[in-house]
């Protein structure tokens, strides 16, 4: 069985930052593995540990810098990785969902996995759409916002028996035929830390670069239908009364508020 896990290197923003045009200035950005994808990687690795002959392949769309992120997936147990990049992608400010689905779809065609795991969303652009759009693109079944997956059923019966986390503490129990794409919610498992041994081993695992040409795509695939026209910090609407002073003074004022509201006695 082959499991493909889509991972994204996401930009995280420092508390204080500046915007230049329609982008946050590079000096205020750090890069990290997308939180949701970390859970997807773990789910893939757990499947490999539970089954015989399960290969886990990580795939990302990103520049050479993203090798660092994808090595985290390799260090946690993915067998090998594919990184899609091209000068034509470099020039695009915001990759739309359709483009990401087409790029990843070409990788799926080449790899022919039984199961694709993808984070529910990325914490930078927050589209929450790539996994389901990918499933539609490649004709796979799918399930979105999965917070439990029955490993045995996947391995033994070829069915993804999942729980989907709905709003308000309700879960939906759904069976999806394979091949399928599942978008993975945080909390489905406990992502492992990469061990030193894993980090060492990751150095010798393959990260295969793939250009548009390699994937049989032409540059028109990256034409985005979305154009970022403005970026700004949302106006603060706070009318909170701030309790000033050092920690002791703040605590004292806070205690007064709690007493005043009648929720704590003397």
């Amino acid at each position: 069985m082959k499991v493909l896990v889509t991972v994204k290197e996401v930009a995280t923003v420092e508390d204080d930052f500046e915007i230049s045009g329609t982008e946050i200035e590079e000096t205020y950005l750090d890069y990290d593995l997308n939180e949701w994808d970390d859970y997807a990687v773990e789910e893939g690795v757990q499947l490999a540990e539970a089954g015989d002959d399960v290969e886990v392949v990580a795939v990302t769309i990103g520049p050479e810098r993203a090798d660092e992120t994808i090595r985290m997936a390799l260090a946690k147990g993915a067998d090998r990785a594919v990184r899609v990049w091209d000068d034509a992608i470099e020039d695009v400010e915001l990759l739309d969902v359709e483009t990401k689905a087409e790029l990843l779809g070409a990788v799926v065609e080449a790899e022919d996995p039984d199961l694709v795991l993808s984070g529910v969303q990325a914490n930078d652009d927050s589209f929450g759409a790539t996994g389901v759009a990918l499933a539609e693109e490649i004709g796979f079944q799918w399930a979105a916002v999965v917070n439990a997956l029955d490993t045995e059923k996947v391995l033994d019966e070829g069915v993804a028996s999942v729980r989907r986390e709905l709003e308000g503490g309700v879960e939906e129990l759904t069976d999806v035929d394979l091949p399928a794409v599942l978008t993975i919610q945080t909390g489905i498992n406990e992502p492992r830390y990469a061990s030193l041994r894993g980090i060492r081993q990751a150095q010798s695992k393959e990260i295969k670069p793939q250009s548009l040409d390699d994937l049989g795509l032409d540059a028109s695939v990256v034409e985005s239908s979305l154009d970022v026209t403005a970026m700004y910090e949302p106006e603060t609407e706070s009318d909170a009364q701030f309790l000033d002073g050092d920690a002791d003074e703040q605590a004292s004022k806070l205690a007064d508020v709690l007493r005043e509201k009648g929720v704590v006695g003397e």
Binding site: A101, E137, R164, G168, G169, M231, S252, L258
Partner: protein, 322 residues
């Protein structure tokens, strides 16, 4: 040109976002100068159609099929209806179910997709306002190629009210059963447990700022000193540090205490959805720009590891050393 919105329902009830979509849809239809259509799929569609018949809605389409949401059925029905109407503007909820069919519909129709809209403007082209980087920035995104699909964040538009005079009609459509590859087996309530945080009148709620599981001891000491009930934001439950029945937010519990003391919680929109009904919100956070301060009545900009021990002492407790 038509604006079409798709209702969301669960276990016999339309969800609030269905009515919010009508408001967003009406505003967009007015800007474009066109009609607003709404559709409801599965469940008791006639009853739902009655409820959706609010001011400003021109036409309601019902699709009878099963009781509950199935994304394959929704994807087929929404695609077919959108094509049948020639609807240029398709608005769907950015709910868990919306996430489960809208991207497929956009792909199937070959349309642009902008998700989680908090604003929609139309002046010849569509501009969608979205948040990025965990709500730290807002962006406006122009959809350069129409028609389009947009998913709309719940709680951003008021619910449509009043009684409308829309025409209601059944959309005649045969579901391709062979293309239905998912089967909904049932539903389950999660996170019962010993404590019902939705009944508490004073919640001390902890978030990512607590950093380590061992540090929970500090908040527990505060809870003990004040007689509060302990709750948390999602990451604490994801980490397995507290059980699911303590989680406040969209996918957890909705709470309405007299006082909600949010400690080390940044105020992500999913969390705020669960606690904004509190009478008094107090937030303790090191980041003065944290979104939690936008909805707080009282704010403490400070390190919880300094403020919480001092607060425990205020109430005669003994802070643990963490």
């Amino acid at each position: 040109m038509t604006v079409l919105t798709i209702a969301d329902h669960r276990r016999g009830d339309l969800r609030d976002v269905s009515f919010e979509l009508l408001t967003a849809g009406r505003e967009l239809a007015d800007a474009v100068g066109t009609d607003l259509h709404a559709a409801v799929i599965s469940g008791n569609v006639e009853e739902f159609a009655d409820d959706l018949n609010r001011e400003g809605v021109d036409q309601i389409h019902t699709v009878e099929y099963g009781e509950e949401f199935n994304h394959d059925v929704y994807a087929q029905a929404v695609t077919a209806l959108t094509e049948d109407l020639g609807a240029e503007f398709l608005l769907v909820p950015n709910s868990v179910n919306g996430l489960d069919y809208a991207p497929a519909v956009a792909t199937r129709l070959g349309r642009s997709y902008a998700s989680d809209a908090v604003g929609l403007d139309y002046d010849g082209t569509l501009e969608v306002t979205r948040e990025m980087y965990g709500s730290k920035v807002e962006t406006t995104v122009e959809v350069t190629e129409g028609p389009f699909v947009a998913s709309v964040r719940s709680g951003e538009w008021p619910a449509a009210e009043g009684v409308g005079d829309a025409d209601v009609s059944a959309f005649d459509f045969d579901v391709d059963e062979d293309a239905v590859g998912s089967t909904v087996k049932g539903f389950e309530e999660v996170g019962g447990g010993d404590v019902d945080i939705s009944e508490a009148n004073f919640l001390v709620s902890i978030g990512r700022g607590i950093e380590e599981e061992e540090n929970l001891e500090l908040v527990e000491a505060l809870v003990e000193a004040t007689g509060a009930t302990l709750s948390s934001s999602r990451p604490i439950v994801d980490n397995g540090w507290l059980p699911k029945n303590r989680q406040v937010g969209q996918s957890g519990k909705q709470v309405t205490p007299d006082v909600y003391l949010a400690i080390g919680i940044s105020g992500a929109v999913q969390h705020v959805a669960g606690m904004k009904g509190a009478d008094t919100i107090i937030a303790v956070n090191t980041d003065p720009n944290a979104p939690i301060f936008d909805i707080a009545d009282y704010g403490v900009v400070g390190d919880l590891f300094d403020v919480v021990p001092a607060l425990i002492e205020e109430f005669g407790g003994e802070p643990p050393s963490v």
